[in-house]
Point group: C2
Chain length 405, copies 2
């Protein structure tokens, strides 16, 4: 009985949980922390705003000075943004700019448009007066701590640090941040038929696209990646490659990901190499990407993807990427949309199909057929189309779930 | 009359078109090209697959050899993946692995599960025979060029290079790719009240979060960023900072982005500094981010954002980021979803409101109020909630458009 997609995703997450928890922390300047994950609960070292300030260009007043019919007040020294103003005397109104600190005693701002005259007097005009309407206390004042109070939780441990989160840290005056070290993947592609791009192609051979496809996907997902190069189809070669990299204590790896050699053919190098190691080879009720390997190799978590490029990408997106989101806090999950089919389609019963498609204006069009070797079609797609195992036919206009790539 | 959001976005795109067209190209190894844009139409240097190959583990046959009732064939030498097989003699069936090259003469594959016996004979068994059912020509054969034909357009100039596109280039044997040089932004934050994070906060001052927020956003969007540091509120200071950086011919900038000083207050440094330069200051019918500046400064495109952090982020997401997608090909547009409101809301008439929200399971909850200083609330949000100018009230459960961050 094949395993469900959800069950296998959970198994991958469980495999990675300990590795993620073992990772150390790294203190980074804010910009280097983009895409990393916060390693600690971070409490605000100051309130935001740090002081009550004006939300408008206008006059800071003591609201009690202005009765219902309005009042004429003496104009005090202006308060530009960045200044520490003097206390506001009773019966006075201080010209104040947006973001500038409210003078002590002032509790409201009257916008310049509501003042008479409607322009600020020259700073040299020491006898100026202004006619202002009545105003409720607190009007157009951003209170100290109204965004966050000093000491409150600003960001929780495990938060993914994007532009807005880093912007908050900057607003809190922090120049550096404690991040989790990213997981490091050892990526090995296998196959006697596979050659490195940039070399000469000979009969029966193809170029390795899995290595590039997965390394790029993993880097986007916030992983460190170490590539082994291509291993041939001799189990001894693969074992030698893995052990050589696992011995490198300067760059210890947290998880091994292989491509190819996990199916039921006669020359399945990953299956053969993992004989005697606690690695399970199983079938997930999914197409493409059904054959999967999962376990540990000499203590290191091991994930074996199938060998076709589309199967690799689908395996990564359906299992490894969401598992990383769950246990490591990065990357953020793919946006999930419900969109309409541009054309009818059929799907094999009992297998969750992951087709590639292009979403434009709420409609998804398939790119290429179901074949897992169709890497040109994959390169045109911007979404994975999810067709559950119990669905065998869908009509044009039916809604489907898509994951945006 | 304020300008519409769409009209201002188009104006930003037009401002950047010439700068984007002027950029040179850069030849990069595949992995360095992640997130960059293809600079040329790229035609396939070889067909994919490069040769007809088997889609299954099974027997390669001449379909004409097997009549309707099936046939017993001599077993030829097996064809592993990566091998260049001999031609298949009439009356023979060659064991073949998934991805292996079809022997000359063979035109179909019978999966091993349909053979009798259902396992491959030992390679040493030179007299082996196998009973196979009839098969249509082409069955389980991936034809040469069925994904893409040699010479066909593989990727068009302007394509954003993500994992799948780089995977295709690798499959085509390419180790490097010609990319467009990214646009370089000179980012200047302004304000006498603004201090660098990591320094000591004094009365009336706040920390600069705009610089971090925008630099991170720009880097994610594929831009090069040069920071000037903070300029004070003296126009002469700002002009000196800009001219100093524009003179740096080693790092020529393509666009200047400023924050703050574009509104209608008494100390608007950007407005004052741009007096006499062809920079327009206008109001977009949007909240936050209404006041905007746009033009050129000494020949360099100039974009002036307002000074509050949320206004900056919204200005970037609503104008600069989509303009870049349009004229430079990177980044990819934000995914747009329609989701339900978790609670009622009101919105000012005539202004397109951009609220910050968190989308969970198809429902969006607002984060913080409308205030553009609420950077902690922003850091909790994962989406921008779009409320058109003609909408003033929405009820819990109503659908709204959100852009996923």
């Amino acid at each position: 009985m094949p395993r469900s997609v959800a069950a296998h995703r959970q198994a991958v997450a469980e495999l990675l949980t300990a590795a993620a928890a073992r990772k150390g922390t790294l203190r980074l300047p804010l910009m280097d922390a983009l895409g990393r994950v916060l390693a600690v609960d971070l409490h605000a070292p100051l309130s935001l705003p740090p002081f009550a300030n004006s939300q408008m260009d206008g006059f800071a007043v003591r609201s009690a000075d202005i009765p219902d019919g309005g009042a004429r007040l003496r104009v005090a020294a202006p308060v530009p943004a960045g200044a520490a103003p003097e206390a506001l005397k009773a019966g006075h109104a201080a010209p104040i700019m947006t973001g500038a600190m409210m003078p002590e005693g002032a509790d409201a701002v009257v916008p310049i448009e509501k003042a008479t005259p409607g322009t600020f007097p020259a700073p040299t005009d020491v006898d100026a007066e202004v006619e202002l309407p009545t105003v409720e206390p607190g009007t157009y004042v951003r209170d100290c701590g109204s965004d966050i109070e000093k000491g409150a939780l600003a960001l929780a441990s495990g938060t993914l640090l994007g532009p807005s989160q880093l912007g908050l840290l900057a607003a809190l005056g922090l120049g550096e941040v404690e991040t989790r070290q990213p997981l490091r993947v050892l990526l090995v592609t296998t196959g006697d038929e596979v050659l490195e791009p940039g070399t000469e192609l000979t009969a029966g051979k193809i170029y390795d696209s899995n290595g590039t496809l997965l390394e790029a996907s993993m880097r986007q997902a916030g992983l460190d990646v170490v590539r082994t190069g291509i291993s041939g189809d001799q189990p001894g070669d693969l074992l030698a490659v893995l052990r050589q990299h696992l011995r490198n204590t300067e760059k210890p790896v947290d998880v091994i990901v292989s491509t190819g050699g996990v199916s039921k053919g006669a020359y399945e190098v990953v299956r053969l190499a993992m004989t005697g190691h606690p690695v399970e080879f199983l079938h997930v009720a999914m197409q493409p990407g059904g054959p999967q390997g999962l376990g540990t190799f000499e203590g290191t978590p091991f994930v074996g993807f199938p060998g076709n490029p589309v199967s690799c990408l689908v395996s990564f997106e359906m299992f490894l990427r969401p598992a990383l989101s769950q246990v490591a806090g990065t990357p953020s999950p793919r946006p999930v949309l419900r969109v309409r089919l541009a054309a009818d389609l059929t799907s094999p019963e009992g297998k969750h199909q992951v087709r590639r498609g292009t979403v434009v204006d709420g409609v998804v069009r398939m790119e290429g057929g179901a074949g897992s070797h169709l890497v040109h079609a994959l390169a045109r797609a911007n979404a994975l189309v999810q067709i559950p195992g119990d669905v065998t036919e869908l009509a044009e206009g039916d809604e489907v779930e898509v994951w945006m790539l």
